[in-house]
């Protein structure tokens, strides 16, 4: 087996609080995510999943507490982390074509040979034939494919996905599950928020449920894992 071209990264959240005005979105969340783990976050609407992922992406600064990253090997210095992030919104420009969007972000990230990388990703997400179409002419599912391609452009060691199957048809969900399986098996750390059991949820090696901004369940075992996703124990 060939070693990964990147150092697997772990994340450590220490007593994270996030307040918006007087309302707590997250309250004293402490979690350690090991390098290469695939963690599924479940929880009702407003439970804090999105805020948690945005803090992990370093888009939102916590009101209190600390987020740190660590390498699998303690001797290695942790590089600057640039996570691949798929959010609720597509995070791509409607007025640009699929290819222009991906080229824009790959050039900003300094991806070597951006044209080749973009062509390969467009092929992978099944949008090669529509590469020159404006994103605003795409269906929601096609936009989501562009969003996923954008997040994977720089082959990130940490992948964060907020309900990544939104808008995808069954074939799209299968494609995403297969892609995530490959990424997980290559040692990437994956954090994703999902609703209920699915092909994608079954890839998780750990399930965490948030409620009212706090972690209320955290498991790696089969039966509890399912109950966290389906709320069967609530």
């Amino acid at each position: 087996m060939t070693p990964p071209a990147f150092a697997p990264i772990g994340l450590r959240f220490e007593d994270i609080d996030k307040r918006y005005g007087g309302i707590y979105a997250l309250r004293r969340v402490s979690l350690t995510i090991g390098p290469g783990e695939c963690v599924v976050f479940a929880g009702r609407n407003g439970s804090g999943k999105t805020t948690f992922l945005r803090i992990a992406a370093q888009l939102v600064r916590p009101s209190a507490g600390k987020l740190s990253f660590s390498c699998a090997s303690p001797n290695e210095e942790t590089p600057a982390i640039r996570a691949g992030f798929v959010a609720h919104a597509t995070m791509v420009y409607d007025e640009l074509t699929a290819e222009e969007n991906l080229l824009l972000f790959s050039r900003l990230q300094g991806t070597p040979k951006p044209e080749n990388r973009v062509a390969a990703l467009l092929e992978e997400v099944g949008l090669s034939e529509r590469r020159a179409s404006l994103v605003r002419t795409f269906s929601r599912g096609m936009r989501q494919r562009v969003a996923i391609a954008r997040a994977l452009l720089h082959e990130p060691a940490v992948i964060l996905m907020d309900e990544p199957a939104t808008g995808l048809d069954p074939q799209g969900v299968s494609w995403l599950a297969e892609t995530l399986r490959r990424l997980r098996d290559s040692g990437r750390t994956i954090l994703m928020s999902l609703h209920g059991e699915s092909e994608i949820a079954s890839l998780g090696t750990r399930a965490i449920r948030l409620d009212g901004g706090s972690v209320v369940a955290d498991t790696r075992t089969g039966a509890t894992f399912r109950s966290i996703l389906t709320f069967a124990d609530v």
Partner: protein, 224 residues
């Protein structure tokens, strides 16, 4: 180096999207042209009167038009959360500001140059002998309006009453630029034109101070 390359890539994106939609340029151009034409017919000024008040009118029109133009600068990043994608991609958030303010300055400058012939004809003021100095004043003033306006646009885009907030913050802050550029333009359009060093010096200092402030604190303006 990555700051400059990121800025160049983002500037290319700003220009491409604008020239594809022509949304801002068309609105700004028509708004200012309407004001120029309307005031010309209403006051029917003589050449001497034009030299006295037309520069003020010209820059006032640009100030209002720029608040229209700058309003959407960060707002249009919101529907698809593309600002987050940019923040995750660039190595220095200052490049986002730099690209946006450069694009805004270019759009303003382009509008000014396109409207200059109309202004010359409607107000009967010859600009050809001082065109190069006028272009420099336009450049410095457009840059100043864009630098301060882009920063304020980033602030107001995150507020609840954003449409109201930007003009409220921007118009008082840009009044010194308006005064300096109107005075400088007036000096250049005088019957005995002279180079307005004081006005141009003020515009340069304004640009440098505000650009430095954005360089130092701009990152915080982009945070959620």
């Amino acid at each position: 180096m990555s700051l400059l390359s990121n800025t160049a890539v983002l500037l290319g994106k700003e220009l491409r999207t604008e020239f594809r939609s022509r949304e801002l340029l068309t609105t700004t151009f028509i708004f200012i042209l309407t004001i120029i034409v309307l005031f010309s017919f209403t006051f029917d000024p003589t050449s001497d009167e034009s030299r006295r008040f037309a520069p003020g009118l010209f820059w006032l029109a640009f100030l209002f038009a720029s608040s229209l133009m700058l309003q959407s600068c960060f707002l249009r990043e919101q529907p698809n959360d593309t600002l987050s994608a940019l923040r995750l991609s660039v190595s220095d958030p200052f490049s986002i500001f730099l690209a946006k303010l450069a694009a805004n300055a270019l759009f303003l400058l382009l509008t000014e140059l396109l409207l200059l012939p109309f202004f010359t004809v409607m107000y009967n003021v010859p600009v050809l002998p001082v065109l190069h100095w006028l272009a420099l004043v336009f450049f410095l003033a457009s840059l100043g309006i864009s630098i301060a306006g882009t920063a304020l646009s980033a602030i107001s885009a995150q507020a609840r009453m954003r449409e109201l907030l930007l003009p409220l913050l921007m118009l008082p802050l840009l009044t010194p630029i308006l005064v300096a550029s109107a005075e400088a333009t007036k000096a250049l359009l005088d019957r005995a034109p002279y180079v307005p060093w004081a006005g141009m010096g003020f515009l340069t200092v304004f640009d440098v101070v505000f650009l430095t402030a954005i360089w130092l604190f701009g990152e915080y303006l982009l945070e959620e």
